[in-house]
Amino acid sequence: MYEQIAFYLFATLTVILFFITVMSKNVLYAMTSLAAGMVLISGFFFLLGADFLGVVQLIVYVGAVMALYAFAMMFFDATKDIKATHEKPLLVFFLGGMMALVFVVIFSAPVIGANIEAHYPIMEDVGNAQMVGMILFTKYLVPFELAAVMLLVAMIAGIILAGKKMDHSLTTNIEDVKEELLKGKK
């Protein structure tokens, strides 16, 4: 009963919030609703029994990724409304709906086929975080290390790309400021 209430509440709120993210003309509103939607998505993970994944979703998405977006928005003009006018809005919605249908079919085809066996079964008496740790550090050790290297590369790339010419202002031309200062001295 509680599961149903939670599911439908989270589902409607997530759909509404992500719809705002996609439709809003203001970058700030879009980012805020995206962050709220991410929090609610972690609720689905808790409902599905994936406690560790829910916590990771909260820490990584809502904590790290959203903070990164918020900091990056200081570089862009966030107060200005963006224009997003597509020539054929109906075609966009039609393609989006078709995409959803294809997605559901792709994922439900093996469910209907029902010949998949669990390689790493979830044990009842072991906690979720413990279970995840056991599988992650045995069967998925190489992908885990590769992901670590990938995150390091991404961090260095982000620092180099964003840190280049950090001392130059984006909005005011530095040469004009220098000229004004020189004129003031004379």
């Binding site: 980012m31 689905f44 790290a64 977006y69 997003a84 998949i116 992650l136 995150l151």
Partner: protein
């Protein structure tokens, strides 16, 4: 009773919302937001199917999707900042340099 189909339909709806965003947005930052929505939808589907088969593989895949998304955001935002410094805008029509 909430079954796996509920979660799959929800993730399909969320994925299509993200897809609509990718199709209709002309601002690069908003394209990134739409991509995040799509990635989250796929994560829900992975976890739900993993629960249905009583398998931990779905959760594992969702972890790696989150790791890829985090590094994508780090590199992508760096590139966006460089683009904004170069063009003064993130609009795809003004950024586009190739003719054709």
């Amino acid at each position: 009773m909430i079954g796996v189909s509920h979660y799959l339909i929800l993730s399909g709806i969320l994925f299509s919302i993200g897809f609509i965003g990718v199709l209709r947005r002309k601002n690069l930052l908003m394209l990134f937001f739409a991509t995040e929505v799509m990635l989250n939808a796929v994560n829900i589907a992975f976890t739900a199917i993993g629960k249905y088969y009583n398998d931990l593989g779905g959760q594992m895949f969702a972890f790696f999707v989150i790791a890829v998304a985090a590094s994508e955001v780090a590199v992508g935002l760096g590139l966006l900042i460089v683009l904004f410094k170069k063009h003064g805008s993130l609009d795809l029509d003004t950024i586009a340099e190739m003719k054709g």
